[in-house]
Subunit: 124 residues, 3 copies
C-alpha cells in the first residue's frame, strides 16, 4: 500500500547560485557520501540539485512535518549508478509513524531542470 | 494495487499568460477554495498552475475519458500545506468505474516549471 | 507491490537538435509504431522526446542494467491518446528477473520541458 508520494522540481541555475552564495549550504544539506563521489571528487551542482529534490520529495511524502533533518535522509549512489534512499533519526521516526517500510526514489536532470519522485510504501 | 498514474508539466509563464488573456479561465478551472487561500487572498499563478497540472494528471490516471468537469476534481490545501485530492460528480464516477479508492498527489514548482504527479489505487 | 520507479526529464530543444544532428537516431530509439502516428504522419519531436523519457524511466525502474535494447520497450498510443507500455526481449527478460507483471506510464510536455514517470509492479 502506498502511504505517500512526493515530487520536486529544481531550477538548476537557481540552485547552483544558492550553493555559490551560501558556501555552507552544501554541508548543511548533504552528507559527505552525497557531496563527494566514491573517488573523492565533488559531485556536480546538477547532481546535488536532484538529491536536494529527492529530500524535498521525501518530506512531502511524509506530509512535511516539522523537525526533519536534511542529513537524516541520504541518497546513496550504488556502483552501477542506482540511487537508494536511507532514512534515520528524525526522518525514520516520521516514517515509522506512518508505517512506511519501503522507499522508492528516482531522479533526473536535463537542460536547466532537475526532478525527483519518491513513493513511500507500507506492508499492510 | 495501482490503477493508474498521471504526470503533468506546465510552463509557468505560458500558464500565467493564459490566465491574463482569458480572465474567465480561472473560475472555469478552479473552485473558490482553490483560487483563494484560507485568508481570502488570491493564490499565485504558479500555485494555480500546479493545481491545473494535478487535475490534468488525474484525468490521465483515469485514462482521459470525455466529460470530466474541472471542478469535480479539487485540490484542498490543509493548514500545514499538504495537498489532498477530492473527487466528485464526473470524476468520482470515472474513478468508481476503475475501482479507485485512494488518490495520492504531489505538486512542485521552481523557476519556470510546474509539475504534478498523481497515483490512483484500488483496494483489490 | 512496487518493484521500481523511474522518472526522466528531457530538454526539448536539446533533444530536437540531437534528432537533427544524428538522423539515424530516430530509428535507433523508436519503432515504426512510435515514430509515426496511426495515419502515417511523423510524430512531433516533443512527442518523441517524452517517449524517449519513458524508455529511460523504464530502464531506471529496472535498475539500469546493461544490454537493454531501445526497441524492446515500446510505447503504444491508443486511439483515445492513452499510452501503454509494451516490453519484449531484453527489457522483458530484465522485468521477469524482478518479478514485474504490470507497468504504468505517464508522459507530459509543455514549453521546453518533457517528462515521463514509470512504475513497475509485481503481484506478490
Amino acid at each position: 500500500m502506498i502511504v505517500g508520494i512526493g515530487v520536486d522540481v529544481v531550477d538548476l541555475p537557481r540552485f547552483e547560485r544558492s550553493l555559490v552564495r551560501a558556501p555552507r549550504l552544501r554541508d548543511r544539506l548533504f552528507t559527505r557520501g552525497e557531496s563527494e563521489r566514491a573517488d573523492g571528487t565533488p559531485r556536480s551542482p546538477a547532481s546535488l540539485a536532484v538529491r536536494f529534490a529527492a529530500k524535498e520529495a521525501v518530506a512531502k511524502a511524509l506530509g512535511a512535518p516539522a523537525g526533519l533533518e536534511w542529513h537524516d535522509c541520504e541518497i546513496e549512489t550504488l556502483d552501477d549508478g542506482r540511487p537508494v534512499l536511507h532514512v534515520r533519526g528524525s526522518v525514520l521516526e516520521a516514517a515509522r509513524t506512518h508505517g512506511i517500510t519501503r522507499w522508492h526514489v528516482s531522479m533526473s536532470h536535463d537542460g536547466s531542470v532537475g526532478i525527483a519522485t519518491v513513493i513511500a510504501e507500507s506492508d499492510s
